[in-house]
Amino acid sequence: MEKYFYLVILFPLIGFLVNGLLGSKMKGTTPGLIGTVAVFIPFLIALGVFFNYGHESQPILQNYFPWINIFDFQANFSILIDPLSLQMTLIITGIGSLIHLYSIGYMHDDEGFARFFSYLNLFIFSMLLLVLGSNLLILFIGWEGVGLCSYLLIGFWYKNEDYGYAARKAFVMNRIGDLGLIAGIVLLWSYFKTIEFQAMAIHAANVDMSDPVIIIATLCLFIGAIGKSAQIPLYTWLPDAMAGPTPVSALIHAATMVTAGIYLLVRAHFLFDLAPSVLNLVSYVGIATSIFAAIIALRQNDIKKVLAYSTVSQLGLMFVALGVGAYTTAMFHVTTHAFFKALLFLGAGSVIHALHGEQDIRNMGGLKNEIKSTYWVFLIGTLAICGIFPLSGMFSKDEILTVLFEKSKGLWALSLFSSLLTAVYMFRLLFLTFFGTYRDDEHKKSKIHESPMVMMAPLWVLAILSVFGGILNLPHLIGGESYGKMAHFLDPIFSHSKLATEHMDAGLEIGLMALVVGLVVIIGFVLYNIYVKKESLPKPDMSLRGVEALVANKFGVDELYDTVISKPVLGISRFFGQKVESAFDGISGFFFVAGFKSIGNSLRKIQNGNVEFYLILMTGSIVVLMILQFLIKI
């Protein structure tokens, strides 16, 4: 089975090529089917490999060909199959195939149907390369590849200039992080003389703590992760990325691509273990992003924007976990988050589909009677993300909080605050969308229809996963003998980790869990009171004042970047292009034109046509030349 693992990468690529080259000639939903199959087969292969992969199995390194092979740099095109990459592969292909299936329904009447699926397949290909690459450079291929697909898919409706702008913004912001990643790769190469993960891990065992090169290198990698996983200060592209079709938001901008930063940190954990100061920075950035994004989400009225900020916030939470060295916990949250955030986005997509493109929650309301099925899955998603027992989100989030409680009470308090905020904005979203009464005109109401089966089936699958996802990594307390399956599975990866977590007191754990769940439930009731009983609505944008206006305006960060970065760069560009270039023209003009002209004018006077004058000049020149010859003896 492992022998054919290259097919996992190859199938999405073939799907991309077939859909990209021939898609426009195919009829109906064929491209969609091809795309879905091209992702589903890899899922099956990966599943097969997963079941073969026991706890004792060694990581499998498959080497295809040397990509760059010169005297002082070598990088092979090779993949590494180990628990971590296998888990990511399963998430990507599994959720990927569900979303592909969903997209068949969602995109069915779009003229770029085949193009959409070819992009999606290219994305899956790149993402698989990212997680399977056995060295940093192959990871980087995938890293940039997913960035490209993100660009292409955000700007999928390319006739709209704004979408194009959002797409470019995403790509450019990612590129800032990519520069950091490249710098990190080079530094690690010059330090270890290899960029293979396995080899580096072996070498890293002999490296001192807080080695300056390692600190800078990990910092560089973290910058890369910031760009890709939308953390402060490079997060602004993610909300804008919602310009793309909703399945894209679900697949790329919630479930998979944005977790690449977390994957990178987990993959390179043996380096981060050596740089505690960078790990601290990771958790600070994470917690700041988490709270910041959660606050912004409180005042957003676009259903997808709320979810986007929620994603940023959750990613921040994962970074906090990474920052304290709880890699398994972070990976667990990546997994469950992939389930319920994909579910929420797809559910939102279903809502939008039902309302024919309406995205503003102020124009929704009372939809639970109109689209029941969607309501139920959305409810499950909401409860999962808020951390209601026994849904998956509760386990992963609780694990993070437990770890934080042990490591740092301050971080714990802030994270708790952040996850409570999650509950606030999610319940607000849920109540405003599905409860109360429909707020737009009746004419539109009559047109509301439930999404087709091809869309609902993936939703239900995801809903089931969201509910039972917690089983993957039950805490010892509940799971008993079969506790922490995922942690066990991933254990070989982190066996070197010096920051491995210990089990804490059971009573305290229960107490913490109960505290969180209790608070969330209270928040749920309070919000139900506000939004459903009293039917209070978000105020129109115009009437917002003070802090509220600032929050609704996302703290003006976009505008800030615009004035601090974009405009000066454009100004400098114009200044260079017009002023400096013409100054160069002026200088060269001075030398070439004015200089030669004046020299010519003065020399012209010598040219008076008088033979005698010429003769004297000639003799004089000969004299001068001879004197020179006489003086300069070479």
Binding site: N610, V611, E612, Y614, L615, I616
Partner: protein, 107 residues
Amino acid sequence: MLMQINHIVPIEHIITLSCILFCIGVMGVLLRRNAIIILMCIELMLNAVNILFATFSAYNGNPDGQIFVFFIMVVAAAEVAVGLALLVLIYRNTRSVDVSLLDRLKW
């Protein structure tokens, strides 16, 4: 009749003589406006060089230098013939042999 001048006169002196004659020729070219005199001064310069050739030939025992002198004379003769013909032409056109009248050497 055959003598050994190289035992008597240092070669530097003959070279200096040649230089002086040459420079007198140059001076003549520069000072005079009469084209005929200028032509004559050129002949003087040629002769100064001839002395040099003959001297080196004699001092090195190599006849090539004298052959060169012979060729220079040949060229000088041809040059004078053409030069004087040109002079006559100039005179016919300008009624003068003053070279400063010839100031058309510019565009």
